[in-house]
């Protein structure tokens, strides 16, 4: 190696210590066991996943826990054509915003099992979890979602989530 040095790579790293609070802590303990648990607002009845301490619209504390299913609707998506560092996914791939059934919020997750050009708003999908041995206190336990054999959801049914 005799070429002169013209560039260097200087990694910059920050470690965050995050205190999730009582509600999100419960959510993280549940997801460690392979369960999705949201919370319902006692006033507007909307279900948040992941749950926070209270409803940001109504300003009241959440009370009721709600078990969430593994199926949902992809309300919108983006086709990713440019990779970023440390992401080992073949290009192009689809990042989906999924409203899991029973929730009124969306979660960003990788979509697999369909060509990017065939991804559609309203597609019905199912969560594919990592092997149980790899479950952690993290939404990353859901490795990706994949399409299921159901008719697309009606736009009117999810337009509020966009």
């Amino acid at each position: 190696m005799t070429e002169p040095i013209t560039g260097i790579v200087t990694p910059i790293r920050l470690d965050y210590r995050y205190t999730p609070g009582a509600s999100t802590s419960q959510f993280l303990r549940s997801i460690k066991e392979g369960k999705l648990v949201g919370r319902r607002c006692p006033r507007c009845s909307k279900v948040y996943l992941p749950p926070r301490g209270g409803c940001p619209m109504c300003g009241v504390e959440f009370a009721e826990e709600v078990a969430i299913k593994n199926t949902g609707t992809m309300v919108t998506f983006a086709v990713v054509n440019v990779n970023f560092a440390n992401r080992a996914v073949d290009l192009p791939y689809v990042t989906a915003e999924v409203a899991f059934d029973g929730t009124d919020t969306t979660t960003m997750v990788l979509l697999k099992g369909v060509a990017p050009e065939e991804a559609r708003m309203g597609m019905r999908v199912k969560a594919h979890w990592l092997p149980e041995s790899e479950w952690d206190y993290s939404l990353v336990n859901i490795d990706y979602v994949e399409p299921i054999d159901e008719p697309d959801a009606d736009f009117e049914s999810f337009k509020e989530l966009l």
């Binding site: 002169p4 013209t6 560039g7 260097i8 200087t10 990694p11 790293r13 920050l14 560092a85 440390n86």
Partner: protein
């Protein structure tokens, strides 16, 4: 969260790093006659650009001009146990270079003589100098 910044070194810093890869420490002669290590892109007195071709090699032994104990090493530091940061004026240089110094805390003094300890493999980066270490007296 981690970002890998890719930086262009420019001709002078590039030459300095290329020198490190060859296990040489290079400095710049400025318009006042001082030898500046590491070499800057521009002369601090005249503001004239420094030409990479005019860099000169300085010694690999030097004198500690100041130092500070680092009791809590962070990720990416040269050591994972408490160590000293030192300003070292290499022989032949008129300015000091900041780097780690591998020496017990109670043996470190301003004015102590130290030398470069090279990394096992040099790649053209400041860590090619693994650290400084005391010159055996």
């Amino acid at each position: 969260m981690e970002f890998a910044y890719t930086r262009s070194t420019g001709p002078v810093v590039g030459a300095f790093l290329t020198g490190l890869r060859d296990r040489k420490v290079l400095g710049a002669k400025d318009s006042t006659g001082r030898t500046v290590v590491p070499p800057p892109e521009y002369d601090a007195s005249s503001a004239a650009p420094i030409e990479a071709s005019t860099l000169v090699e300085v010694g690999q032994e030097g004198t500690v001009t100041s130092w500070s104990w680092n009791p809590v090493p962070r990720l990416g530091n040269p050591f994972d146990v408490p160590f000293a940061w030192a300003l070292v004026r290499l022989d032949g240089a008129d300015t000091s270079l900041l780097h780690a110094l591998d020496a017990p805390r109670d043996t470190i003094t301003t004015g102590m003589r130290v030398k470069v300890r090279w990394a096992a493999e040099t790649v053209g980066f400041i860590n090619d100098i693994a650290c400084f270490e005391p010159v055996a007296s």
